[in-house]
């Protein structure tokens, strides 16, 4: 049977057309995506991986809620200028406990992967409540409400930790039971700052650049 005859059959048969589209479009995913999902080095924790504490996890979810990743990447590329500007380039094993990933696609503001420890907690607090107090040119939105809301109100922390445990994050029963207490008396801004301060800090500098 030549190609035109085969195609005549496809274009006159709904089932064949559906199957053809599904088959042809699936090839790329099967060859390209499945091996990635099967690659252990992309999902196995190392000494560079940091399991988020309840407070940091709460902060991370606030980062997601406010859409910080719309304007800030968390991915230092292995380029001289980027390593100079931000620090060591990002490694895959640093993101093992990142669900979802927050690499971003746009830098309206600077990359944040190595922001941890670069500024004081107080600087972050002032900056988040009104960015232009510390950076006059800044076009970042102000987040005054973060300082007013208790961290525990936005956070079903035990349910979240249990969900993550089913995905393999090694939280113990004691960790989960103690979590609500850790959030007592903290506001959302405290949790977000805790997350920012831990970002990119677990990475252990190797000898090679």
């Amino acid at each position: 049977m030549n190609g035109l005859n085969l195609h005549k059959r496809i274009e006159e048969n709904t089932g064949l057309l559906i199957f053809g589209i599904l088959f042809v479009s699936a090839i790329g995913g099967l060859v390209q995506i499945l091996p990635i999902l099967d690659q252990d080095s992309l999902n196995t924790a190392t000494e560079n991986s940091h399991l988020y504490s309840p407070v940091e996890l709460t902060g991370r979810d606030i980062y997601i809620r406010e859409g910080c990743s719309v304007c800030h990447s968390q991915q230092v590329r292995p380029l001289i200028a980027e390593v100079e500007r931000y620090g060591a380039y990002s490694r895959a094993d640093e993101f093992i406990y990142d669900r979802p990933f927050l690499w971003g696609s746009k830098r309206t503001g600077p990359d944040l992967h190595r922001i941890g420890g670069k500024y004081t907690d107080d600087w972050h607090r002032v900056h988040l409540i009104d960015p232009r107090v510390v950076v006059a040119e800044s076009i970042m939105p102000a987040y005054p409400w973060l300082a007013e809301r208790p961290a525990s109100a936005a956070s079903d922390i035990t349910a979240k930790m249990r969900a993550l445990r089913t995905l393999g994050h090694p939280y113990s029963d004691e960790d989960i039971e103690a979590a609500p207490d850790e959030l007592v008396d903290l506001t959302e801004i405290d949790a977000l700052i805790a997350y920012l301060q831990v970002l990119g800090t677990a990475y252990v500098e190797e000898d090679a650049p």
């Binding site: 274009e11 057309l17 559906i18 589209i21 042809v24 479009s25 090839i27 790329g28 995913g29 995506i33 990635i36 999902l37 690659q39 992309l42 999902n43 997601i64 406010e66 859409g67 719309v70 990447s73 991915q75 590329r77 292995p78 001289i80 200028a81 980027e82 100079e84 500007r85 490694r91 895959a92 993101f95 093992i96 406990y97 669900r99 979802p100 990933f101 690499w103 971003g104 696609s105 746009k106 830098r107 309206t108 503001g109 990359d111 232009r132 950076v135 040119e137 800044s138 076009i139 939105p141 102000a142 987040y143 409400w145 349910a159 979240k160 249990r162 969900a163 993550l164 089913t166 995905l167």
Partner: protein, 477 residues
Amino acid sequence: MKSSSEFYLDDVVIRLVQFSVAWAVVAMAAGVYLAAELIWPTLDFGQYWLSFGRLRPLHTNGIIFGFGVSALMTTAFYSVQRTSHVKLFTPGLAWFCCYAWQLIVLLGGLSLLAGYNTSKEYAELEWPFDIAIAIVWVCFGIVFFGTIATRRIKPIYISNWFYGALIIVIAMLHIVNSLAIPATALKSYSLYPGAQDAVVQWWYGHNAVGFLLTGGFLGMLYYFLPKHAGRPIWSYRLSVVAFWAFVYSYIWAGPHHLHYNAIPEWVQSLGMVMSIILLAPSWATMINGIMTVSDAWEKLRTDPALKFIVLSLAFYGLATFEGPMMAIRSVNVVSHFTDWTIGHVHSGALGWNAMITYGTFYFLVPRLVGGELYSVRLANVHFWLALAGTMLYIMSMWGAGVSQGLLWLSVDQIGELSFSFKDIMASMTPYYALRLIAGIIFLLGTILMAYNLYKTIQGRQASKVEIPAVNPAYGIS
């Protein structure tokens, strides 16, 4: 005596046009507001729901799923009936798709403003919405493929393949990318960790652009361009080849969004190579379209609808050339993370998606209600506003993006960074101001169209179009 089944179901088509135009105005207005916030960051007035990070996903979701998908449902429902010579399969389900989809976009949009956001681009809606989307999408598939299965014309016309690919592939992408473990009623965690999540997300993200914003709208093109030009497709065989090449190669291109990121290099390289190959089917389709109108150029002088469609082809060609170029790693090193990406997206979204939809609506709506377009003059004004807005938008973002990319990477003779991030960011204001003006111009045009179409529909009913007899040469015996 005629039974009602001998008429096409067009009421639902008109309703979908109305929803689509409404979303265009709302989501583009949100875009204009966001553009203003990048110049005057205090424009959110301390209101969390007006904050940039929350409003931006509303803008993108409103355009893609509100305006875009509603327009695709409109034209798929309209043309699948005409090319099959039957009424829509299960009309009740078609109405369900129409309203349920709008409800998802509306409630989903509000949930984004409330901060329920997965952060995965174009898949921001949380898990209950993901399930609802999957259900409505399957219903869309049942109506569409059911209509084709019950058709009275033997060959399945090319536009239907593209709509078919839209329905099937988006279902696959949506389900795989949205897999997550729910923690609470509106919060879930992705099944995939870090780098794997990134690869799955951009497999989805790039192909949402591929099969929804490109493939779906090519379905629109293949029906409405020949219909409007009064010419058959220049080469049907080219359209067949281009279709399968498109379905095969698009799906590989996602990893070009992750050049120099922490994923294996072979995946980046494969994504880059397949992105460049993708130029061939993209331009094959563009050439096919341009050649189809090549005997009907005189219509371009008088008919704003055809002008929109032909211009959209030009922007389709531009965007599908620019995309593969930006996928090359040495270009991407400059363009990645910059406003160049935003410009590229808008040359596609404004120049291609919006313009072909506008052209199609100007053609379709008068026919649907059996009247004339309220004002051809207003439509012509809209055409120039849309063109000016799109050009200004793209050029301002090219300027911004190329400057950002080069200045970020610039180092002096001793290897020190030449510019601080803050100074580069502060130098963007003129570009952002131009972009705001561009957005306002484009939005004004869209509002003109909304008014024009409203006046065209006002006081009229969907005209009843009888299903014609089938030419025995093509009929199903």
